[in-house]
Amino acid sequence: MSQFSWPDPATRPLLGKSISRVDGPAKSSGHAKYTYDYNPQGLLAGKILRCPYAHARITSIDTSAAEKMPGVKAVQIIQRPGTEIFWAGDEIVGVAAVDERTVDDALRAIKVEYEVLPHFVSDAEPPKTVAADTGPISVDDFKDMEENQVPDEEVIARIQKSGISFKPEEKDYQSMKGMGVDQAVIAALRKAKFVPAEAKAKSPYKKTAVQTQGTPDQAFASAAAVSEGVYGAPCIVHCCLETHGSASEWPGEKEMVVHISTQNVSGIAAQMAEPLGVPAGNINVLQQNIGGGFGSKFSADRWDINTANLSKAAGGKPVKNMLDRKAEFEVAGMRPSAYARVKIAADKDGKIVAWDSHSWGTGGVGGGGTPPLPYIFEIPNQRKQNTAISTNQGSARAWRAPNHPQAAVITMGAIEDLAAKMKMDPMELILSNLDIAGPRKDTYKEEFAIADELMGWKKNWHQRRDQTAGNIKRGMGLSMHTWGGRGHNSDCDLTIHPDGSVEIKMGTQDLGTGARTIIIIVAADTLGIPMENVNLLYGNNRYPQSGGSGGSTTSGGVTSSTRRAAVEARDELFAKVAPALKAQPEELEAVEGRVRVKGDASRSLSWKEACAKVGAVPLAVGGKNPDKARPPDLTNSGVGGVQMADVSVDIETGIVRVNKMVAVQDCGLVVNVKTAESQVYGALVMGISYALYEEKILDPVTGRMLNPNLEFYRLAGLSDIGELKVHMMTGKGYDERGVIGLAEPPVVSPGASISNAVANAIGVRVPFLPLTPQNVLNALEAAGGWRA
């Protein structure tokens, strides 16, 4: 029986080392091709006329002038007169023409009339008079919970408690399954009680019932210290540098090829099949490189369906439509806002005993996600209530670690304020509460010790409010985070050719995380050959299916299927080679490009000679994950990380600078140290960006986004990041857990740790991100100014 488990640390030539990504040369030389670069013969440009109003009804559409323009090849109405539009930028008419200039002219020639309806775009704190909604879950509520990755147990509990006001059919269940809705959730829906929705007055607010645990009132009354505050983070966007979009063409009446910028190569065909009326098997999905996804690129969007339809209408010629920057900002996904009014209490020994929160936020028309509050800490006495606000803006999409960064800003901010009230070092307060910090509590303890060392926390930490003279005040803050990340379903085919070359086929994608590099590392490590001998074919839905890259599940999934295939292929090769070496197959090993008898270098064959024994037909093996028949489980779930920030705040200008950040992160067995560290560095940078600058600003008057561009939607630049230190937890206690993905966890804590550092520097909580000069100065002024 083959041993599929990860190899012993002493016998890992490549696994766990620091290796440059295989796609590096193509990227740094400008040769890597993206969907956006697809530029075939006769390519037509596609573009979409979008609604300028945040809420309106289409009354008429006249495309006649556009259709007559020279160079226009196809015009398709996407939403017909009579349709109600719920956000600015929604799709109305698509046009394909010979080039982008002609498309732009054609869009200007289209006349659309609207009945403008009242809109609502504010996610400010809801009025106290809003009553709790205890009615059944509507189809929109359900979609909203799934899109916001509300934990499955919570979704199931709500379905069981309130019933549902919609009646899913068998095909709906199938499509949910295809979109990755958990089996247990689908089972709960099947068993759910149908409760007709009550007619009620239209309100943008949807308030949950109060959830209580323990005896919060008594706990607050008898607590030694109680701290109250308001915390939160606004809506931000993914801002993928390669916008969403695709290029479609029809080589035959019922045969389509789509190049698409996606995190979900294997899942796209199923989504396009029904709207296009072609079998999924006839749709070929292709993608070599993707210019950023961050959770926003799992679907074939309405514009992608439109592109395919335009291509069909244009005789099957290729049509490419990549969103322009403005549309990308307005309609291609955002992270929901979340704010909360929090009360938190500790006893005299610094044990956190009670939590009370009312949270609110928006994720677009559907409402918003519920941040998991309190974050990480299982505080014994709690009272919680959340209000989701429906706003007229493009819907939320999963944004790295959905709901966690917001929950961290709220919870870690409240804990920092509580510590300040008790004149305690927040690290001490957290360390004395690790018993309620969930399954990774020991990890956090080890990580805090390392972070302390890297940051000089104990040495440099001061009580809240820097007493140094001058305008520049310095402070430190910290935060911690967790995430699941068990490997997704992944299939692959691995072939050893008689000439010694090895080929892997997998319908996965590499978002720049280093996925293709770790697949090749695992195969080459297992087979004892150089990485150059392994050719990875990916980015094509005709290869064995592999899951979408979301929720930090890719690394676990793709390395597991690759390992299983490689071990089995190697052992089959041993069986063919053994007679030539006069040995039993289980006596053989594959190392340093040779197949040899363990401990006897004289009895060996080069890899190439060994592969020649395969015979005329290549040796092909399938790998998959999960695979109960080929244990053990090679992946795991649940990681912990801690971060610390050191900032300077100018109390005259309100400008915040990050001096230094430290991230200590666990992700089980690290396959490639270099790309793993890059993920964490990248998360710190993205975190500094959303902590200090990013906000999707909606104009209450027009309902439109005021900053849908890169001048006014500011990203952090190279000069904004300060010194960054990353430490990956490896070795005993981590390696044996198996491979766990890393995209989500490190992006959770930067906002919270930087916000806490600012509070430590200036002695005042700036309630909401981003920590712009305006927000900092307002917070100082609300506290009566610096000298007060």
């Binding site: 990227k27 030389s29 540098l241 920057r325 560095y681 890169l710 630049g717």
Partner: protein, 207 residues
């Protein structure tokens, strides 16, 4: 404008001979329309190009290339659409992010913010011309070494900007780097690696 039989779908590292011949042939076949109209505006004679296509000759990566372009076509779009030089990317499309950085007479410019007709007469260098065959430049090699790229979409712009920056500042200080490489955005957050590239090329240590 797009000549079907001469276009290619495959990735190429530059302008192929076929592209070049195709573009030249198009020019030769065009009747004599052209040259700007001259109108008087505010008391001065002003040349008006377009609105239709006009002949444009660009000196790209050491080759003279002619094409018929509307005057509103940006240098970036001309490079990408007409010449299949797709290393430079369109990201913000208004001079904020640097993903479309190319060299104009040796100086970095945002290709989205220069009109193709205005780039005539200048020496245009794109990322594709920096490599010699398959050989990466030392700067590109350092981007690989320091993993200064993730999704890679901003990388060509950063490589062009960094290459020029290091020519101007062979021994940059940390402060030089902060100022000199602040004109490009990355969303994956590769700045730590890029900073390391610049320092390593300067023979310095990462600060």
């Amino acid at each position: 404008m797009k000549d079907d039989d001469a276009r290619k779908s495959e990735a190429t590292s530059g302008v192929s001979r076929r592209d070049f011949m195709k573009i030249s042939a198009v020019t030769a076949a065009v009747p004599l329309v052209l040259g700007p109209n001259v109108v008087e505006a505010a008391g001065e004679e002003v040349a008006v190009h377009g609105p239709g296509k006009v002949p444009v000759t660009l000196n790209v990566n050491g080759k003279k290339l002619s094409a018929q372009l509307e005057p509103r076509v940006t240098l970036l779009d001309a490079l990408r659409e007409q010449l299949d030089l797709t290393g430079a990317k369109r990201v913000c499309d208004r001079g904020a992010c640097g993903a479309c950085t190319v060299l104009l007479d040796g100086k970095p410019v945002y290709g989205c913010s220069v009109l193709a007709i205005d780039a005539q007469g200048a020496k245009i260098t794109t990322i594709e011309a920096l490599t010699q065959g398959d050989m990466l430049t030392p700067v590109m090699q350092a981007f690989v070494e320091h993993d200064a790229q993730q999704c890679g979409f901003c990388t060509p712009g950063f490589v062009v900007a960094t290459t020029h920056f290091l020519q101007q500042h062979p021994k940059p200080s940390a402060d030089d780097i902060r100022h000199g490489l602040n004109g490009n955005y990355c969303r994956c957050g590769t700045y730590n690696g890029i900073r390391a590239v610049a320092l390593a090329q300067a023979g310095g240590e990462q600060s």
